[in-house]
């Protein structure tokens, strides 16, 4: 097991945001955490990346305890997070943004090779190399932050809502790219999604998180019809959900 989150509890001031959440990710897997707004999805990712410190529980990465480590130490250990809202450095140009991704690396030769490869995966970034990142469109910024995270040469990449604020065809493009990265480069992915439909399509396994607790976990293949996921997601069964009209 590459990443294991065991029974973590996280408080925002005194309110618990997560209660006894456990998530595990195997090498080469794509795992999705789905859930409604405020369920604690981002909190889970921020705890993994060392930005938040769980009050209880254990997080291990490749057998090493990582909760309590600083965000930069977690990045060095091999987890790269693409946080919600993209967070490009708007005043830096595209190339500089990508270069920040290489901050932790010493292997100069490989950096240049990886740099070229990222520009091949995302040709639009090569075209806009010298442009300020703040001037890119939302989709281009999403490509940029994924490329930037790739340049840290991570073993695990966590992505918070890659589809947020993107047009549907761009979302497809982002997910295609992520699948390619897994298939071609063996990248392990932990993705937070609000749309369970999207998650069921892309993931090997999914977790449904609501009100700070895991409601359901399972292989995406077993949950494809969506009924169980819907129940776990909303916490009740209602008519509208049965008709399949709710696009969540």
């Amino acid at each position: 097991m590459l990443l294991s989150v065991e029974n973590i509890t996280v408080h925002y001031s005194r309110l618990p945001a997560l209660r006894g959440v456990s998530v595990s990710v195997d090498e080469g897997e794509i795992v999705c955490i789905v859930g409604p707004n405020g369920a604690g999805k981002s909190t889970t990712l921020l705890s993994i990346s060392g930005v938040l410190n769980p009050t209880e529980g254990l997080i291990t990465f490749d057998g090493m305890k990582i909760n309590g480590m600083s965000a930069e130490a977690v990045a060095r250990a091999g987890i790269s997070q693409v946080p919600e809202g993209r967070h490009v450095f708007t005043t830096l140009n595209v190339e500089e943004n990508l270069r920040i991704g290489t901050s932790i690396r010493k292997d100069r030769g490989d950096i240049e090779k990886d740099f070229k490869r990222v520009l091949e995966i995302f040709p639009v970034l090569a075209e806009r190399r010298r442009q300020a990142a703040g001037k890119l469109s939302g989709g281009e910024q999403q490509m940029l932050v994924i490329g930037r995270a790739l340049l840290t040469s991570p073993r695990l990449m966590t992505i918070d809502e890659p589809s947020l604020g993107l047009a549907p065809n761009l979302v497809d493009r982002v997910y295609e790219t992520l699948l390619e990265l897994r298939n071609d480069r063996g990248l392990t992915l932990l993705i937070v999604e609000q749309s369970s439909e999207r998650a069921l399509k892309a993931a090997d396994r999914i977790y449904v998180l609501r009100s700070g607790e895991i409601q359901l976990e399972g292989k995406a293949a077993d949950l494809r019809d969506g009924e169980k996921v819907r129940q776990a997601y909303f916490g009740f069964v209602d008519g509208a959900a049965h008709e399949g009209e709710v696009a969540f």
Partner: protein, 305 residues
């Protein structure tokens, strides 16, 4: 005409000095959201480091008597060391507090440094004469003569500005610093070493303060334990009207304040000249009423985690 040229050079020289000061404050603010009110006292310490620590009325130079290059290196190194120590012993522990708390901590540090100076050197002003050859006039043309030091201040400022721009644009750590200034948390999540970047900002800011000590003491020839306080006020105002967090803004703000001060001294009638600073501050209020975000717009101070 000659008078105008002389005033203009004097204004640019003043502005350059303020720009350097504002830049020292702006550098720390950009990565740490710290408004370091001890910055002026760092400049004071750089001045006092020139003389032998004693409370005697007549100051005896120590470092101040060294060969000029060694003198500059020593003073800059001392002020950098002071700035870095202030980070590790003081500001680092307040780093997660609000910007207001950090600012109050910087006030406390400033007063502590002033009192340390009083304890060691006494409270009386001391005369110190370094680089006397710089304080003489130079003849630029028939009617125009300016103090050589004014030209030196302008030249030094521009050399430092260009060096800083090259550092921030071209080097790996410089780019990391700009990234951290914009989004500290994201930079750390990508593995940028936050402590290292902040320490570097203190080094740069301390280096600027050290050079400013030398320029300031050369100009005034006097050391007093509070000499950093009034200039710090102007640096602070320069950073505010330039736009907090923007280095370009700090430079623009520094030049604005410096040039306005000198122009006011030149045009105000004699009986109002004593109120020059008051007039500058009134202008500052007017600017901030019209443009509260400062001249150069940046992302407002953000939450830090």
């Amino acid at each position: 005409m000659d008078y105008i040229i002389q005033t203009a050079i004097s204004a640019i020289s003043f502005g350059s000095f303020y720009a350097l000061g504002a830049l020292g404050i702006g550098l720390l603010f950009s990565v740490l959201r710290l408004i370091n009110f001890a910055h002026g006292d760092f400049i004071t310490i750089g001045g006092f480091a020139l003389i032998i620590p004693s409370s005697a009325v007549v100051a005896t130079v120590s470092i101040g008597g060294f060969h000029p290059i060694l003198l500059i290196v020593c003073i800059v190194a001392i002020v950098i060391a002071l700035a870095v120590m202030s980070y590790f012993f003081v500001f680092q522990h307040a780093q997660t507090s609000s910007p207001a708390t950090m600012m109050i901590v910087s006030f406390a540090l400033g007063y502590t440094l002033q009192n340390v100076i009083i304890m060691i050197y006494g409270g009386r002003p001391k005369a110190v004469n370094i680089f006397p050859e710089l304080t003489g006039p130079v003849q630029l043309s028939d009617g125009v003569s300016v103090q050589l030091l004014q030209l030196v201040i302008i030249a030094v400022t521009w050399i430092l500005l260009i060096a800083l721009v090259i550092f921030l644009k071209r080097t790996r750590v410089g780019i990391q610093m700009r990234a951290a200034a914009e989004d500290f948390r994201m930079a750390r999540m990508l593995g940028v070493n936050g402590k290292y970047v902040i320490a570097l900002a203190f080094i740069l800011s301390g280096g600027l303060a050290g050079i400013m000590s030398l320029l300031f003491v050369t100009q005034t020839g006097v050391l007093t334990f509070r000499m950093g306080v009034p200039i710090m006020l102007f640096f602070f105002i320069a950073t505010v009207i330039g736009g907090m967090g923007s280095l370009v803004g700090a430079v623009v703000g520094g030049y604005s304040v410096g040039i306005v001060s000198v122009v006011l001294s030149a045009v105000l009638p004699d009986e109002l000249r004593g109120f020059r600073d008051a007039c500058v501050f009134i202008l500052v209020i007017v600017i901030l009423l019209a443009r509260p975000q400062g001249i150069v717009l940046t992302k407002a101070a953000k939450e830090r985690v």
